[in-house]
Each structure stands twice: as C-alpha cells, then as structure tokens.
C-alpha cells in the first residue's frame, strides 16, 4: 500500500500514532543487508506494549547484531483492525511496514493470560495458519517468551517454541541455530528437535500428554530426544548483562512514559500468592554504579524527565540509599524526577521518604494484600499493622493526605472477618490522621482501597488451591462493601468473570487450545479490556468443546497430581511449594532469602542471593 493510502487510513482511526512508526530511537535497517527478520509482537495495544521493559531490552539487544533486524508489532485496536481486514492489509511491522508473514521469527511476549486471543488474532491478521502443525515450513517460526511461559500449555498447539526464563542469551542462541538451519535448507521439524536441546527452550510438540479418565494428567512423555525437564534460563551477572542505553521514545502518551532502570531481578520475599516472586528467583542485583551509569545514559538518549527504578520490591535493594545519593547529583540539576514503585511498608524509612518527597509529591501506595495479621501470615506478606501505621504517620506528618491500599479477595482460608479487616484498617488509618497534632492543615485525608480477585498461579505455593467461584466472589465483595462505614474510605474492585477466565488459563493444559481457538473464532479479543470482554462467548467456547473451566480453576489439586507445568523447571522445587503450602495452612511465615534461606531450589543456578553472606 502506498504512503498516501496509509495516511488516509490512519487519519480515520483513533490515535494514529500507534501505527505510524518513526519514533525516536526506532531502528530502521536495510532489509537486503540483514539475514534475520524478527517481528517482536506484543499482544496488546501500543500504549501497553511500549511500556514493557522486556521488549525494550530485547529489541535493542537484537538490533545491536548486524545480521538481525528486530521490529515492533502491537495488536491493532479494534477500529484499525476493521479497516485492515476490509482493505486486506496484513499485520505489519512498525519500522518497515512490511507484512510480518515473511519474517523469520514472529516472537510474542506473554505477560498475562488475557492476551491469548490477541495472539491468535495477530497470527490471523498476519495471514498465517493458527496451528503450528499447519505451518510446515521453517519460517516464519512462531516463538514466545515472558512469564506466562511458565505454563504455556494453553498455547501449545499454536506456538512452535517457548523460551523459559530470561531471554537475553537463549533467544540469540535459537536465532543462531535457526540461521544455520535455514542456510543449509533444513526443515522445521529437524530444527525444532535441535532447538529443544538448548537449555531454556520448550518445544511443546515434542511432548505427548496422556490423561486419566477424570481429566487429570496421567503422563508427559518427551520424544525425539527432547529433555524430560526443561529448565529456565537466567542472567547470572546483572552488571555485565546487556542493557539498552536508549529506548524507543513514543510520540503518543503510553502507560509508563518514562525511562526505566532495573535494580535487580527476583524477589527475596516469597509472598505465597505472587508468581513473580517465585519464577524470577534467585535475586540478582545490579551494582549502584551500573544502575547509575545506565540510568544517566538512558535519560540523555531519550530526553525523558522521569526515571523509574524498577524491581519487584524496590526497598529490598541493598544499596538504595547510596544509589539515590549518586543519582540525585545529576537528576536534580536536570529536573529529572525519580520514581520508586514497589516500595514496601515495612522498611520505608523517614529518610527515604524525605528523598522522594522533595522530588515529587505523589500518592502513597501500600500493598498489605490482606486485612488481618492472620491472613497476612498465611500469604507470607510479613507486613504488620504497626508498620503500616508507623509509615502512614510519617507520611501524613510529611504532608501526604492520600493513601492507596491494595488487597486481594479470595485468598486461601479467607473468612468474612478478614474482609472486614480491610475496611477496618482503612478506617483506622483515617482515625490516625485526625489524631495527629501536626497533620497537614486544612486538608482532608482519603484512603482508596483497590481489591483484586486472587487467582492461583503455577509455581506458587497456592498452585494447589481452588479459586473461589463467581457467586462467592460477589458475595465477598458485598461483605466488603457493607462493612465500610467510613466515607473517606473508597473501595473499588475488578469484575469477577475476568478472573475466572484468567484462573482457568493460568493452570490450564493443552486441551484449552481448542477452547481458545473457538473463542477467537467467535470474535473474542482484548479480553483484558472491559469494553471487549465477552463472557457469554467464552462460556459457549468452553461448552462446545466439552470443557469445564472450573476443572482447572476451582478444583483443589492433590500434591501428587501431575500439573500441566510440572515438566518445566523454574528452579523452585515442587517439594518446596508443598512445604510452603502446608505452612500457609498453619499461618506460619517463612523468613525472606536474606534472613534465612528456605532451600527453595533456585540455588541450582549458582548465583545471586543464595550465595550472599548472611
């Protein structure tokens, strides 16, 4: 399509900047001079995908190689999709506007289960058959990485190969192998068999699954020499790991429109509901010097006036104070603001607060996750009420008036008392405010409580737990609502039917591929978006395939049941998860990695916090 036609189309859709390309630091190469063309696909909108750090890292890293041209592709919003289908425009890469159908790799990053229909839709828009088996030639190869790959089974029929763990090394190893096979004219099957031998590569078609009559998995059998266990990959030394010195800077506003610098990967905490806390183990830090140097380069090359220090739990970074002191030397004179997401309540010092405070006054957010100490012990979120109050007091006295609290509903062992504990905590924070002599003058406090529905995830101690059903979710939401008597406490929650779908896919097996395909054919897409999610169509898709979603989500699983992800190895052992599950049920906490090693299994990678002196 010529430029004029394209412009005309873009001018008739919302936010044309999503599709126009040409952003600063985007990489354009001569296609005749590269050997590998890689379409890096994010199965959601531009604004969400462009905010994602993993994509930025791999995009830059791939493009450093002369023989690879990596381009970005996002899910077109529904208005543009209609036009694309009407005019026969295939899904294209933003940099070259070439159809991705002829690329060597189509790589998806899977950040959440609710994007799976978008993956199918994007393959379809590219003009490709959905199923791996219906794409016999070596290229394009459809690959995927990201956290959802810790249970990729619901996508097993569609994706040729999954990357487990961190992609910086394994992705390039696979690309190199592909190049070799392509040059010698080898076929797809031969390639996949060879690729399966690379650590961190999972080729689902090389595994046969047998089921019991009741639907549980009986066995998982590798074939053609594929490994019985596939271990994820990690970057061992964060200081020498690749990190981009520039990001593509979007023209339109995106969700996280700022420079991002990683402090460390993994988390020492082990909150039992949190998948990220387990699958990214062990903790590996970057040194303060590296962080500072990389952050500075990023700001210089992007022109961003805000930099966010990212990690799962920022205040656990061992050199936070020295780092902040280093960074403030150049951020302050240049009016660059620092943001520190994921600060925890329990080690949030007054001094630290002061440092952020004089940079930017934004709201205070805490995530106690559960309303009572008992339930917080169950989930191993070792935040005490005393600590919450102490922090709020410091914050209020420092001029803050708004507090945002995050909780989960439907946690294992949760009772109505725990729910009432949530509103009670909110009310007592308000009371605390008014009890302070030196509270901000002439202002009114507010506590906003955001409650999400708990979804049990693979590789967490709660992977065995049933997810509560829709009616029960709604009943508990009502308990919460009616227990709130304070007008300054505001409660909001998410739709319960979406978490039901998320629950089924999080712990689903490959029989869900048929359901997914059926839902896609009925028009399901952007399931994470309220305006697009259609529960009815999903229920029909399950029904037509004779599959009960509750089998995956609402069933308690025995410890010795074979889970769809048990042949994947993320370091943490099943024994450890079982131990943690039992401790949860007796409300016993587990100390964090720095206090005492819980022998989770992640020490097998030979790096990180497991080998720190305690």
């Amino acid at each position: 399509m010529n430029e004029k036609e394209f412009e005309k189309l873009l001018l008739s859709v919302q936010k044309p900047g999503r599709y126009s390309g040409g952003e600063l630091n985007s990489v354009v190469k001569d296609k005749e001079k590269v050997k590998i063309r890689f379409a890096f696909c994010f199965p959601d909108t531009y604004e969400i995908g462009m905010s994602h750090l993993g994509m930025k890292i791999l995009y830059s890293q791939f493009n450093e190689r002369e023989d690879i041209w990596c381009e970005r592709v996002f899910a077109p919003w529904v208005d543009f999709e209609v036009l694309m289908r009407e005019k026969g425009i295939p899904l294209f890469a933003l940099e070259s506007r070439d159809s991705i159908k002829d690329f060597d790799f189509i790589g998806f990053t899977l950040q959440y289960e609710l994007c799976y229909t978008n993956l199918l839709n994007m393959l379809d828009l590219a003009g490709l058959p959905l199923k791996s088996a219906d794409r016999p030639s070596l290229s394009p190869l459809v690959v995927a990485g990201g956290p959802c790959c810790c249970n990729p089974e619901p996508l097993a029929d569609f994706v040729d190969l999954f990357f487990l763990g961190e992609g910086e090394e394994v992705d390039l190893e696979v690309i190199d192998l592909y190049r070799e096979f392509k040059e010698k004219g080898a076929g797809k099957e031969e390639f996949l068999r060879a690729a399966a031998k690379i650590e961190g590569v999972y080729v689902p078609s090389l595994y046969d699954i047998e089921y019991f009559e009741d639907g549980r998995i009986k066995s998982v059998t590798p074939k053609d020499g594929a490994p019985a266990k596939i271990r994820k990959r990690i970057m061992r030394d964060m200081d020498s790991s690749y990190y981009p010195d520039r990001f593509v800077v979007p023209f339109i506003e995106i969700v996280h429109d700022r420079a991002v610098q990683e402090l460390f990967r993994g988390c020492i905490r082990g909150c039992r509901f949190c998948q990220a806390g387990f699958i990214y183990r062990p903790v590996r830090e970057k040194s303060a010097d590296t962080v500072n140097r990389q952050a500075k380069a990023l700001c210089e090359n992007t022109g961003y006036d805000e930099i966010s220090l990212s990690s799962l739990s920022t205040s656990d970074y061992t050199c936070l104070e020295p780092l902040l002191n280093k960074m403030l030397l150049w951020t302050e004179p240049q009016s660059i603001s620092l943001s520190l997401p994921s600060l925890r309540v329990d080690n949030f010092s007054a001094e630290l607060l002061g440092k952020i405070n004089h940079i930017r006054k934004s709201g205070l957010t805490f995530a106690p996750e559960a309303g009572t100490q008992r339930l917080r012990d169950v989930i191993n979120k070792n935040v005490t009420e005393e600590e919450i109050f102490r922090t709020c007091k410091t914050a209020f006295e420092g001029g803050y008036t708004a507090v945002k609290l995050y909780f989960m509903l439907g946690l294992p062992t949760e009772t109505d008392e725990d729910l009432k504990g949530i509103t009670d905590l909110g009310r007592r924070i308000i009371d605390l405010y008014y009890s302070l002599e030196n509270r901000p003058v002439g202002k009114s406090p507010s506590v906003s409580v955001s409650v999400s529905t708990f979804v049990p995830k693979p590789f967490t101690p709660f992977q065995f737990e049933p997810q509560i059903e829709k009616e029960e979710i709604e009943r508990r939401q009502n308990v919460l609502k009616y227990s709130n008597t304070c007008r300054k406490v505001n409660i909001s929650w998410h739709d319960s039917s979406v978490s039901f779908l998320e629950g089924a896919f999080a712990r689903g097996d490959r029989r869900l591929c048929a359901v997914l395909e059926a839902a896609f054919k009925k028009g399901c897409k952007f399931d994470g978006w309220n305006e697009c999610f259609n529960l009815q169509k999903w229920l029909e898709a399950f029904d037509e395939n004779g599959i009960d979603p509750l089998f995956y989500s609402a069933r308690k699983r025995d410890f010795d049941e074979i889970n769809p992800w048990d042949h994947l190895d993320f370091g943490v052992t099943k024994d450890f998860l079982i131990r943690e599950n039992k401790k949860a049920h007796s409300a016993k906490i587990t100390p964090n990695c720095r206090e005492k090693c819980a022998a989770c299994g992640a020490a097998c990678f030979g790096e990180g916090v497991c080998f720190e002196k305690r």
């Binding site: 004029k4 800077v249 023209f251 006054k361």
Partner: protein, 214 residues
C-alpha cells in the same frame, strides 16, 4: 536570559501528532539537545515553551513557531539549530532561530493549502463558489461549552484558486481563530456534498498587516 523564537516544520509522520504530543516531543528534543533552556519555577518544573498557534492532528506545517528561553545569552543560534536538528525526528526540521520581533498575540492570519485526492479535484470550483457566499452560518462551541452561531465568511481573509491546490488565508490566533476543517465541513454540509478526504498544510502565519509573522 533571552527569548528565542524557533521556526520549524511539522511534516510527514509528524502530522499524526496532536499539539499535546508535539509538546511532549519538543520537551524531549530540547532535553536531548542539551540547550541551556529556562525551566519554569515552582512545584512542577518544566521547560518553558510557548507555541504560537497550535496545529491540529493531521495537518502539516511549514511555518511553525515556538518560543523558548535560553539561560546563556551568548549561546550561538547556529549551534542551537544544529543541536535541535540532530535531536529531532524525521519530519521536524528547525529552520531558523531569531530574536522575537512581535508578541505571538499579534498573529492575525494563517495561510493554508488544501488538497483533495486527485479523483476529487473537480470539487475545487464548487468550493471556490461556496467561499464567495455572503455569509455562511456555522455552529461552534464557545469557551464555556455553549453552542454559538457565527459567520465564517468574515474570517476568511482571502482565497486563491489559481494554482493546483487552493490556498486560504483565515483568521488565526487566540481570538477568532478559524480552523480550515471547519470551513470544509461547512462546505460539505451546506452544499450537500459527500465529504471527501483532504489534507491540510499550513504555509504561513501573518500579522494584522499580512506580513509574515516574525
């Protein structure tokens, strides 16, 4: 400290940017260029930039103006331009940097070039005839959001249909700005013509005496 007026073009892919996007972009371009610019004081400090007349999403501009302040009075304009240009994306070109002569409120008119697709150029004579009407009453929201009737004809300073593409000189600036999109939608509506795709390029900004604004 001194005020500096920058003239730039907004073309190609940059037409997809709204004025808000342009502002975000310019802030980053200036930061990357490392120019010694002045930041506003106060709580939420940001680079001082004043845009003469915002340009709509979808339009190209050949004579766009923004004013900034340099904290170093001796800073060479040539150097400023070359730094800005190397930090700017394709489609944004900084052409000139000058000491401002007039305040931006003195902008009175803007010249636009309108282009229909080749299949629709036969509509130009109808447009020309339409624009020579005595009055064309349109409805527009005023600043308070109330609907208000107004006549667009007095705001059309002149038209030129002699070239391949029509050119219109319309009132511009804070008071009485007339957007060419409004002129065209009035044309389609009042002449009962099915709306066709068109592009707009702003060629020039003028002061009240129709001299190029500087």
């Amino acid at each position: 400290m001194k005020n500096v007026r920058l003239f730039y073009t907004k073309k190609g892919r940059m037409k997809f940017l709204s004025q808000l996007d342009i502002n975000r972009l310019m802030t980053r371009v200036i930061r990357r260029s490392g120019l010694p610019v002045w930041y506003t004081e106060g709580f939420n400090r940001h680079i001082y930039i004043n845009y003469a007349v915002p340009l709509s999403l979808g339009f190209e501009g050949e004579y766009e103006i923004m004013d900034i302040r340099l904290t170093d009075d001796a800073f060479e304009y040539e150097e400023a331009l070359s730094r800005l240009n190397s930090a700017a994306p394709e489609g944004i070109r900084f052409l000139r940097a000058v000491d401002p002569v007039l305040p931006t409120k003195d902008i009175a008119f803007a010249e636009y070039e309108i282009a229909f697709e080749s299949g629709n150029v036969f509509l130009y004579p109808a447009l020309e005839k339409f624009l020579s009407s005595d009055s064309v009453i349109c409805i527009k929201k005023d600043k308070k959001g109330r609907l208000k009737e107004f006549d667009i004809i007095p705001k059309i300073k002149s038209t030129d249909f002699s070239g391949d593409k029509p050119r219109l000189i319309l009132s511009a600036g804070n008071e009485g700005n007339l957007n060419p999109a409004m002129v065209l939608s009035a044309f389609f509506e009042k002449t009962e013509t099915a709306p066709v795709f068109y592009t707009v390029r702003r060629l020039m900004l003028f002061d009240a005496g129709l001299k190029p604004f500087v």
